[in-house]
């Protein structure tokens, strides 16, 4: 760990106080705080981080997926949160197994709607309680999840595919 600053610490301490068992790992790299948290609590954590008066993470900058084939928990969903009012950032990471789904946070941050659709489209990760979980970038009848690591760069047809 490097460059521990007060803002990062407050976020970790407050979240640990609120939900003692949900933080699995805390990491600070290049002064960016990353917390790996439990899948089941993600919606509560986001709501807490958004509404707490000292944290106020009111802005979901980005939400994306990661794929680590071969790991016990293959997929990871990453949330990049920001507070416009207090000007600080935190990154949440949630790991899940291939067949698992995760709670949608659209009700907490409406902007997550399209982001979650994109993760579903690209990785095949399902979001429970999402109001409209459809493909977003790929054609409706597309098979396969392009951003998975086992998906070939040139598509499943390889060289023959010239879309």
């Amino acid at each position: 760990m490097e460059d521990i600053n007060a803002e990062n610490l407050i976020t970790v301490i407050k979240l640990r106080h609120e939900l003692p068992d949900s933080i699995r790992e805390v990491n600070i790299f290049r002064n960016e705080l990353t917390m790996t948290v439990d899948k089941k609590d993600i919606k509560r954590i986001c709501t807490f981080l958004r509404d707490d008066d000292e944290l106020k993470y009111d802005f979901l900058s980005d939400l994306c997926g990661l794929d680590f084939p071969g790991r016990h928990e293959r997929f990871c969903v990453v949330y990049n949160l920001y507070s416009i009012m207090l000007n600080h950032r935190v990154r949440l990471k949630v790991f899940l197994k291939e067949e698992e789904s995760i709670q949608s946070i659209v009700s907490v941050y409406p902007t997550a709607n399209w982001h979650e659709r994109e993760v579903f489209d690209m990785f095949g990760i399902r979001f429970d309680e999402h109001p409209d979980l459809r493909k977003i970038l790929m054609p409706e009848d597309w098979e396969g999840y392009p951003l998975r690591k086992d998906y070939p760069l040139r598509g499943e047809d390889g060289e023959n595919s010239r879309h």
Binding site: R30, F59, D67, V78, Y151, L153
Partner: protein, 393 residues
Amino acid sequence: MEKILGTDKMIINMGPQHPSTHGVLRLELEVEGETIVNVAPHIGYLHTGIEKEMESKTYHQGIVLTDRLDYLAAFSNNLAYIMAVEKLLNLDIPKRAQYIRVLLVELNRIASHLVWLATHVLDLGGISMFWYAFREREIILDIFETVSGARMTPSYFRIGGVSADLPEGFGRKVKDFIELFKSRINEYEDLITENPIWINRTKGVGVISQKDAVFLGLSGPLLRATGIKWDIRKSNPYCSYEDFDFEISCGENGDVYDRYLARMFEIRQSLRIVEQALDGMPEGSFIADAPQVVLPSKDKVLTTIEGLIRHFLIVSEGFYPPVGEVYHSIESPKGELGFYIVSDGSNKPYRVKIRPPSFVNLQALAGMAKGRLIADLVAIIGSLDIVLGEIDR
């Protein structure tokens, strides 16, 4: 076109080839007469798999792909990407390179806003504005061409600095442009700002509240038009933005008219920054002294064996950043443009996620357009200033 039985509602497709959807955007409109009941945007027509492609390219090679995101502001995309990589490497950038970057990015902001202005006013029936704005944008593109050799896809910034020093005569060209543009922008405003037709078409149209704007993730001029003063150049200054004296735009009503005012204000501020960057341009190196990462100069490649080996290694293999992950965002003309890069220690990124402002901003369209007329929808799309290149990636 499809009529829903038993009601007056109809489903109409607008796009993907429709001039006022600004690219290949398809809107599925549910209308009752002229009134919009619902809008469902369909995107992805321009999806080229840039994020996937980046995983198979070295860090240097990735720069070229970023040009194709928001092709109206390629310098901004280059900057956001290389700054994320530099953060990963913990690299210090020489002051001169930072000033060159700021200068070009701000010129690019003006060029991008000019395209917005031209097409937005054109959509609402003001054809002359289109010619004026494109006339001035042409001068900016000429400046880009003298710097990088390309007008739209410069790939001029490098990890560690910029690819070459500014060419001779650059300062003169930019100065001429600033002098010319100072009066031209006044002409634009004379034409539009108090034009009764313009006001009728834009005031009170496409309103979004502050709270909705934040929760929907809006950024850039769209967010500032609602009255929230958030500009990453001020809140988290990067690239020496703290050295420059400028103000950030701010509206209050969050309607199409305020977005127009916000962007016009930004054009003027960008002009101020360009002027300051040019006048205060520091001497010194245009690229960092980091032989592991930065390509050696041509002179060294041709005359020294170390330079030759270094050049070969960086071109064929690239470099190996530490294991880690970074998110870096900048204020692009459209809003918060972020790059999230995960490195596994190899010479290629494990994952690059782009946070395109247009993708997020477009989500707000349905809320803004519901209950309004189709003609208003055209005004609202114009005011969102989307570029499908970065939405679909």
